[in-house]
């Protein structure tokens, strides 16, 4: 490596020697500056880790917020539905028909005509009449007429002429058994509920015959 430089120098005029001397390049040993690797790696990994964890936390908090949103939305819709239901009930309560029925139940009547007092000269205009409850406006429509199916004409049955003729007419022991079952049931059973059931069966049996 040094040989070309030696040749070069030998061919140089002397006058330029100083300059050549100054300009001579020498190979210096490569100086490797080794930056401290640890802090950088730490920093990068910290940034990375921070980023990942931050993103994770951010995402989690967003999810959390989404859960909260869903549940709060549900709550809001439940509450608004509740409010509307209550408002509906309120509207039913202040419906004039309802108010009037309540008022009637409390004994209020339609007002009579008032008299007016003039403050300027103390004159009374008109005549005050007390309300007349018989003149109340009917506020409840009359019940609709029942169809004939629900409102059958009463059937009248002539009672048997005398009890002896009745028992003789029904010859079988069946009717006498009923009669014996009916009489003690109606008379002897002290308990009200027993009484009722006995009576009931007593009524049912003759019709089913």
């Amino acid at each position: 490596m040094s040989s070309p430089a030696v040749q070069f120098r030998s061919r140089m005029p002397r006058i330029a020697e100083a300059a050549v001397e100054r300009a001579r390049l020498t190979v210096v040993p490569r100086r490797r500056v080794r930056a401290a690797r640890v802090p950088f790696v730490t920093l990068v990994s910290l940034v990375l880790l921070g980023g990942v964890i931050g993103l994770l936390l951010f995402n989690t908090s967003m999810q959390q917020a989404s859960f909260a949103t869903t549940s709060l939305e549900g709550q809001a819709s439940t509450l608004s539905a509740r409010e509307q239901t209550l408002r509906m009930e309120l509207d039913v309560l202040r419906n004039p028909q309802h108010v009037a029925e309540q008022a009637r139940r409390m004994g209020m009547v339609t007002a009579g005509s008032p008299a007016f007092l003039k403050l300027s000269d103390g004159k009374i205009l008109g005549t005050a009449t007390p309300p007349d409850p018989t003149q109340n406006v009917r506020i409840v429509p009359p019940a609709p007429a029942k169809p004939p199916v629900l409102n059958p004409a009463p059937t009248y049955v002539d009672p048997p002429a005398d009890p002896s003729g009745h028992s003789s007419g029904h010859s079988s022991g069946h009717s006498s058994g009923q009669a014996s079952g009916l009489v003690p049931g109606a008379s002897s059973d002290g308990a009200g509920h027993g009484d009722g059931t006995k009576n009931h069966t007593g009524h049912n049996n003759p019709t089913s015959n």
């Binding site: 239901t85 509906m88 028909q97 406006v137 009917r138």
Partner: protein, 565 residues
């Protein structure tokens, strides 16, 4: 050497082949695979790419319809006549419910007030996966019931939104408000103003994971536009009272039907418009068909003697008569085709014009109306608003008929006392209101402010028009004459008196044309129109701050109630 060479060469040459062949085969296989990929790519991207994109998007994508809230219908004080409430429908999947059907049916029947047996049948429907168990249940009630059912271990029932239209006042103003069917409005203001009330549904699309919206996921929202409230001029309390009085009147007189209109004298706002019989808007199907309309507008009737008010005020306005004009009224007046009678038998009597009104004499009115020039009465009646739709925003209004006078003198005679022409109750109220309002007709209105019907007609108090029909003096004279109708000594309708008020009015009984024969069939329309206070109604009364109002009532009677008018 020979036997050993071939075994060495064969595995190298024949099994793997030369490198070039291997390369070619490899490329061929790669090309084939790539072309398959390319083909699939063309299939996915070139042919119908949208359906695949939609399928991809549908994974975890939720589309929710945001329902617009229907606008309320309010009375003049803001009380609701119709309002919308959040509702739910309860639906069931019978495949999942049929196992525990009896228990679930019992549970639902008690919680939602349902019929046990029909619920049981629905829960057991075979081959179905969707049945409506209950519709239009208040949201809280439905969700509470379904949550409780889930806690008890029942599966297969769910809720879905199903808005409820509620009519808190029931039958009050139902004839005007109308009602809703399952999905669409079927009658009344609900239907006339459907566009305004309905609003526009919106929609929302978002991605969902595990029941929660995915943050930063795709999400688009098109907000719903709620319907606009409709403000009417109806006064809920007055409407209720009018309806009850009217239905009581109809029951007591054993009449068929009736209508009553109450109108603010100065503004023409309709405060109450009652029909009887009417229906409960919450259960419209329980009423007969003909009870579900607005009779006060759709049914035309012959006004009878009430119309004399219009005839005589026009005559006074023309200066042909005054209230003191004397008329000699014979007991019977022969006109072209048949004689005209009065409701009360009499010989030749002398009446003033005021007496003609107070006694409601047909013959007197006809004699006075003879002073009209031909066609004059008709033009007056048109200016009073007869024969034209009032266009207050109610469907199916009848314009009624005000026949041309050309069809004969007899017809003009009959029109003069209120037969051979027809009106609807609102027209009549507006016409008589002209007298109450000092001769100026105010067009009636039912909507506060203004609103546009689905037909594109703008109605409401903002479009109210006024025009003078008769002079103020003619109106005042007429009002004084009408007060005498109520006078217990001389008039025919003392029952209409209101203590403390000066009431002016006129009764009418008109023969009614039956639909069956198209002729007068022996039934009558009994009507009354009046206003109070009669002393200067155009300005607030000195000792009463009540709004002056005009009322017109008409009742379809099966028989002539009492020989009046």
């Amino acid at each position: 050497m020979r036997p050993t060479r071939p075994p060495q060469r064969r595995p190298r040459g024949s099994l793997r082949g030369s490198a070039r062949i291997r390369l070619r085969v490899g490329f061929l296989i790669i090309a084939m695979v790539l072309s398959v990929f390319a083909g699939r790519l063309v299939q996915l991207q070139g042919i119908d790419p949208n359906s695949y994109a939609a399928m991809a998007a549908a994974e975890g994508m939720v589309q929710v319809s945001l329902q617009a809230e229907r606008g309320d219908i309010l009375d003049r004080n803001g009380k609701p006549l119709a309002d919308s409430v959040d509702g739910m429908m309860v639906v069931a999947d019978p495949l999942m419910t049929s196992d525990k059907a009896p228990e679930l049916a019992k549970f639902l029947a008690t919680r939602l007030d349902l019929d046990y047996f029909s619920t049981l049948k629905l829960l057991r429907t075979s081959g179905s996966r969707f049945e409506y168990i209950a519709r239009r249940v208040p949201a809280t009630k439905a969700t509470d019931a379904v949550d409780a059912a889930e806690r008890k271990g029942f599966t297969g029932i769910a809720t879905r939104p199903d808005p409820i239209r509620d009519y808190p006042a029931g039958d009050v103003a139902a004839n005007l408000v109308g009602f809703m069917g399952t999905d669409a409005p079927l009658a009344g203001l609900e239907r006339t103003f459907q566009t305004q009330l309905a609003g526009h549904d919106g929609s929302s699309r978002y991605e969902v994971g595990g029941g929660n919206r995915i943050p930063l996921g795709e999400s688009t929202i098109k907000p719903a536009v709620n319907g606009t409230d409709l403000h009417t001029t109806i006064d809920l309390d007055l409407q209720w009272y009018t309806q009850r009085v009217l239905s009581q009147t109809i029951e007591d007189s054993n009449a068929e039907s009736g209508m009553a209109v109450v109108m603010d004298t100065r503004t023409g706002e309709i405060l109450a418009d009652a029909d009887a019989p009417t229906f409960d808007a919450n259960h419209p199907l329980e009423a007969p068909d003909d009870a579900r309309g607005a009779r006060s507008l759709s049914d035309a009737y012959e006004p009878g003697s009430v119309e004399k008010v219009l005839t005589l005020s026009s005559l006074i306005n023309e200066g042909k008569v005054t209230p003191r004009t004397r008329l000699s009224v014979p007991g019977e007046l022969d006109r072209e085709d048949r004689p005209i009678h009065d409701w009360f038998p009499h010989g030749l009597i002398h009446l003033t014009l005021a007496g003609v009104i107070a006694k409601s004499s047909n013959i007197g009115t006809v004699l006075a109306a003879d002073k009209f020039a031909p066609g004059q009465l008709r033009s007056y009646l048109t200016r009073f608003g007869l024969g034209q739709r009032t266009d207050i925003g109610v469907r199916g209004e009848s314009p009624a008929s005000c026949r041309p006078t050309a069809s004969g003198h007899q017809v003009q005679d009959r029109i003069a006392f209120g037969q051979s022409l027809s009106v609807n109750a609102v027209q009549m109220a507006a016409a008589v209101n002209t007298i109450a309002n000092g001769g100026v007709r105010v067009s009636p209105s039912l909507i506060e402010g203004s609103a546009t019907t689905d037909n594109g007609v703008t109605v409401g108090t903002d479009t109210t028009t006024t025009h003078r029909v008769v002079s103020e003096k003619a109106a005042r004279d007429m009002a004084h004459m009408m007060e005498r109708v109520i006078d217990p000594d001389v008039g025919v309708a003392p029952a209409a008196a209101v203590p403390g008020y000066r009431v002016a009015g006129k009764t009418g009984t008109a023969q009614r044309v039956g639909t069956a024969c198209g002729c007068y069939d022996g039934t009558f329309t009994v009507s009354f129109a009046g206003f109070a206070p009669a002393d200067n109604p155009a300005s607030p009364s000195t000792w009463s701050s009540r709004t002056p109002a005009t009322a017109a009532v008409a009742v379809r009677s099966r028989a002539r109630p009492s020989p009046r008018s």
